[in-house]
């Protein structure tokens, strides 16, 4: 187990450097003249140019600049946006908002997926099963870019059940519609995996044993089968966190939620390179750490899985 953790950590560090290198290289290739971009149409005097070049190490080579970027990233200093705001500060303000939204979405998705997944696995081929299969197919086909504006239009503007936009201090009710939209991006896969997994486990020997012992069907399903079926689902929930982060860009933009995705979308629109790279780098770290935790959880949940 220990060796496995060490190997996984080493792999993660390698992946981390690789991914941030790709992101940085993309931004490096993307800049023509950042100082001119900062000044807009106005001419930049030579002395100002010299100071800025010095401050941002613009005359250094690519690798040296990458070194400064990594140093900043690892010490929590993400630099400044084009508008002069501290990116770490922006991230600090945006992070809790997105975290609340993503967790609420993940919770909604998991509850629906597990309940409906188990239910349709128990009645395989029945009306409910076929209904959920069809629904998941529809959900898979609806990209957030369609779902978010349409849901906002129908439920917020026409029916007025929810507010159309929210603020930084949104309460649960205000976040509910965006969280539902976000949840739909992951619920379909989770539901299908739950269903498949439960169907497989229902045939397992230990289920027959449990039934033969005289345990109630409810206990067999919800304790014995579910516990063993949830292992792949939990992995998926972890991986889905990355998908949620991506989907949050559009969702937060549509519902005006000032989270990570909202800032990122605005950074993209205003061509604010440092903001985009800073936010993306941090998201990459979150993604990698979550995946590592999920992998380790695997071992804790299923003693049959052995690492060597």
């Amino acid at each position: 187990m220990f060796r496995y953790i060490v190997r996984r950590l080493l792999q993660m560090i390698l992946t981390f450097f690789g991914a941030t290198f790709v992101v940085f290289a993309l931004m490096f290739a993307n800049q023509d003249d950042p100082i001119q971009a900062l000044a807009g149409e106005k001419p930049v005097s030579d002395s100002v140019r010299a100071v800025l070049t010095e401050r941002y190490h613009l005359d250094e080579s690519f690798l040296v600049q990458y070194w400064y970027y990594m140093k900043g990233l690892l010490t929590g200093d993400l630099g400044q946006s084009m508008t002069g705001r501290d990116i770490s500060e922006m991230l600090g303000g945006a992070w809790p908002v997105t975290m609340r939204l993503a967790l609420l979405a993940a919770l909604i998705a998991a509850l629906i997926a597990i309940a409906a997944g188990v239910w349709s696995a128990m009645r395989r081929g029945g009306f409910f099963d076929n209904g959920t299969l069809l629904t998941t197919l529809l959900l898979l086909a609806l990209p957030v870019v369609v779902l978010a504006p349409v849901a906002q239009l129908i439920f917020a503007m026409e029916l007025r059940w929810f507010p159309a936009t929210t603020t930084k201090d949104a309460n649960l009710y205000e976040l509910l519609l965006p969280a539902l939209v976000l949840a739909t991006t992951v619920v379909a896969t989770q539901l299908r995996v739950t269903r498949t997994s439960v169907v497989e486990n229902l045939r397992a020997d230990y289920v027959r044993t449990a039934r033969a012992k005289g345990l109630s069907p409810r206990r067999v399903t919800w304790v014995h089968v579910l516990r063993n079926s949830l292992i792949p689902v939990i992995t998926l929930i972890g991986v889905d966190l990355g998908a949620l982060m991506s989907a949050a860009i559009v969702t937060e933009d549509v519902f005006n939620i000032p989270g990570v995705g909202f800032n990122l979308a605005r950074g993209v629109r205003t061509e604010d390179g440092p903001v985009v790279v800073g936010f993306v780098s941090v998201l990459v770290i979150v993604f990698l750490v979550v995946n590592l935790v999920v992998d380790l959880l695997y071992a804790a949940l299923d003693p049959r899985i052995r690492y060597e």
């Binding site: 870019v145 239009l153 559009v250």
Partner: protein, 285 residues
């Protein structure tokens, strides 16, 4: 292809599947719309009159007009081509990359596998949408339609799933008896790879690639929505949705139609992938 081959069985299965025919028909319709948009509408998507601003459906204009007085139906129909071109070409690129990486990693193993698997991890670690955002900013030229840029962006970033699936299928196929037999008969690495291993490990890869087609079409719309996708005069469902959303409070129909077309197209490809998967692997049903 003999009657008893995997593909033969799958095809026999597919022919009886109603969902397969429904999605195939939908795909065919969308493809026809992409190639010959003028078959479906006589209106010119570029001709807009502000006098028609936000007008509802009328004779000759089934879906009404958007905020600039453009015909929503014509624009939606003509938008199909860009979505399909970007979707198909980026999936082709991703498919080829995924096939090569997966086949090489699975067949050669060892150092090659380690390097390629880490590369896949790295690309998987770069969230596709986020990286595409940075990427398409560079490859696009101001004022251009960016079709090439978006295609390359999506293609280069979306091959990871195909590569992983291909790799594990190749590893399974490699240790089968028929491969050992072929090797003993003196088949070289190229013949082993392409004649024996590839045909037997390509099933789940095809499924992943079909579904990727739907995903990439949706991704193009998302990028266009965020303003880093198609630009210039290019008509795209994503751009239509983004523009219509600003006016959705006043009129809803310019938002509804491109959204419906996009959803139907993605649905068709995902259903097609689902049907093919069921045909190739009945266990997963």
């Amino acid at each position: 292809m003999s009657e008893t081959s995997l593909a033969g069985h799958a095809w026999a299965d597919l022919r009886r599947n109603k969902i397969f025919w429904a999605s195939a028909a939908l795909v065919a319709l969308v493809l026809l719309m992409a190639v010959f948009p003028s078959l479906f509408t006589s209106a010119d998507p570029g001709v807009c009159a502000l006098a028609n601003r936000n007008k509802g459906p009328a004779v000759g204009s089934w879906f009404g007009y958007d905020f600039q007085g453009c015909d929503v139906f014509a624009r939606t129909v003509y938008g199909t081509r860009n979505s399909i071109v970007v979707g198909l070409l980026s999936t082709l690129l991703a498919g080829v990359l995924g096939l090569i990486v997966g086949l090489a990693a699975g067949y050669f193993g060892g150092v090659v596998d380690a390097v390629l698997s880490r590369l896949t991890d790295i690309m998987l670690g770069v969230p596709i949408l986020l990286a595409a955002v940075v990427f398409s900013g560079r490859l696009s030229s101001p004022g251009g339609d960016n079709v090439t840029a978006v295609t390359i962006t999506l293609g280069v970033l979306s091959w990871t799933a195909a590569a992983r699936v291909m790799r594990s299928a190749v590893i399974t196929a490699k240790s089968q008896d028929y491969v050992a037999a072929a090797r003993m008969l003196g088949a070289g690495p190229a013949r082993l790879m392409f004649r024996h291993i590839l045909p037997n490990s390509v099933a789940s890869y095809i499924v992943v690639v079909t579904i990727l087609l739907g995903t990439n079409i949706a991704a193009e719309a998302t990028l266009s929505y965020l303003g880093v996708g198609l630009g210039g005069d290019a008509i795209s469902w994503g751009r239509q949705i983004a523009e219509a959303q600003d006016y959705a409070r006043i009129v809803a129909h310019p938002l509804a139609w491109p959204a419906a077309f996009l959803a139907a197209t993605v649905l068709a490809f995902i259903m097609l992938g689902d049907a093919i998967r069921d045909a190739f692997d009945p266990k997963l049903r």
